[in-house]
Symmetry: none
């Protein structure tokens, strides 16, 4: 056996980081950030407390890393059309993407929302939230303008709130919330084919 290469070590480090972050995310989302102890995370991840501090400077930095990673993943959706306008025919794809993200990262969203509701921790996500909401609003604004809305600003805000509400309700009751039906309904209601804005 030859000693591990620099890259292998790097790989191991990266995998452990991900392990810790995923473990912590689950616990944070389930019991809340304050109710989760470093011991619990270390135990569930199968490592020692000391090692955890080898990867993350503090509990708060760990949380920050988790939130940033989650936000990065979410923000990728907006990349394709980053500086463009959402054409009406793209709306269906967009809604699908959003729902896919929400369903895939349910646990992250729960944590994210809980944190958002806590002003004293909110600073950790405040900046990233702007990165999310600003392009989102621009996209929607452009879309509704394009679709000939009488009040595109109002339409955008309401659509945005509706998505937030759906996400919230889905997170709170994932087992009984009919997320697939809701998605279809949204597509049906908001994806205007051709020029027939009702």
């Amino acid at each position: 056996m030859s000693p591990r290469t620099e890259e292998q070590y790097e790989e191991i480090r990266h995998e452990k980081r991900v392990l810790i972050m995923n473990t912590a995310l689950e616990l944070f989302a389930m019991h809340g950030y304050e109710n989760t102890t470093i011991s619990q995370i270390a135990k569930k991840a199968g490592i020692s407390k000391g090692l955890l501090y080898n990867y993350f400077e503090s509990k708060e930095y760990l949380l920050e890393a988790i939130l940033n990673k989650g936000m990065d993943e979410v923000l990728e959706i907006f990349d394709p059309n980053k500086d463009g306008v959402l054409e009406t025919y793209e709306m269906e794809f967009f809604i699908n993407e959003i729902f896919k993200t929400v369903e895939k990262n349910r646990v992250f969203w729960r944590l994210y929302m809980a944190i958002s509701l806590q002003p004293s921790v909110f600073k950790l996500v405040e900046k990233r939230i702007e990165e999310l909401y600003e392009p989102m609003m621009q996209l929607m604004l452009g879309y509704f303008k394009n679709a000939g809305s009488a009040n595109p600003f109002m339409d955008a805000i309401i659509f945005n709130s509706l998505l937030d509400g759906i996400t919230l309700d889905y997170i709170l009751k994932p087992d009984i919330f009919p997320i697939e039906d809701i998605k279809k309904e949204l597509i049906h209601r908001f994806c205007i084919h051709k020029k027939t804005v009702s």
Copy 2:
């Protein structure tokens, strides 16, 4: 000097209870339940820690009392139509009531939502939530049926999610969220006046 009468004691007790609950609600909502210490509450309320425990058995019971009181106030909205159906012409009144409640109890809703997102504390509100959502859904279901909706169940869920999303966004950014405009828009969109029901 003779001791205070029972009524005087009752008065004192009631006022202090309210003072403590209001103070705690604000702090809980602002910094989160776990991040708020009994010391902070006592200090802000201008009383000693010991006295607080004279009124509430524990920090958790204090939270429970706050949540229950808030839920009681919110549930009063449903009283007028408790076992009836929401007639189409009543929808405007109903939306107005909901928005009034949300605006008036902004702080409570923030706490309430934060708690709901934390499964381990969720048990405190679980039962009360059912008291809120069940009649709400029935009311909406009846309303949309009455209004001739093709899919009243879907309409009810979406309307409900929309309200949740609006509440959430308003709570997170009360200063910039155009709550009044949104309310008008909702009334405009969802209040079907008798003659126009097809």
Copy 3:
């Protein structure tokens, strides 16, 4: 109704003192001195905490008063023969008296023994204990000498320990400890009629 006389007030004060002391004794003996709160005592006695402090300067003084009163009652047994010698024919009477006291003041003895075992509170009873044991030992010593014992000192100590052990066991399991039979047995064993020391 004429105002109460000075004596009547004094009478009321005395009765209330006794009420508080008896209530406290029971609680102290049942749950221990440290585990009993002033609130509990006041509540069980049907008075306010403030009033209790009107009668007793502190919790410790209350305990002291209880212990002293109990000791006084116990010490009365020794009065009849205080400076005399226990004649052999008086032993039966004496044992009867001791058992009567133990049975009557079971609760007091429990407290008294518990306190004795706690050096830091022991100072409260230390002096009174000497008042009890010293004459007791003298009495026994005289008795066994009188009865022609080969080692009256040893006999006295052992007899004393036996009484202590009986008291302890009776206190710990009053329902199953055959106190009456034991008493008869003691009388049978230690009351030497005439000169037939076995």
Copy 4:
């Protein structure tokens, strides 16, 4: 540096546990369970409060561990003759063993008796007490029967009470109680040598 081996940790843990238990036993016995604070124990043991909780879940569990360990040690005396009968010639050995235990574990016995006298804490030792008294009584019963006693049950109870009383008096005044002489006297009185059994 590589981390300590499992054995090293085990060693450390065991030694600390013993240190804490011995320190706590002494303080509990001296000042009483309720009057002893965790801080005092930690300080006297030369460790932090936090560490103590690393080893014992709570103050009560610490007490329980102490009582159980003490009882285990005491119960070992009964092992040799566990299911047998105490032959008359073994009585001397048995009395010697009992006195040895009492003298060696004086501090434990003080705590044990104090706890026994406090019904609300009694549950901690209730079960263990039965383990002690039941075989003790059986042994004594067998012994006195064997020795031709007219009332072996009474003899057993009285002998038991005598031992309890001696233990109590010795604990209360170890410096002046003539425990060695008493032991000899007991052996003299209760060890019936085969030939002299009438």
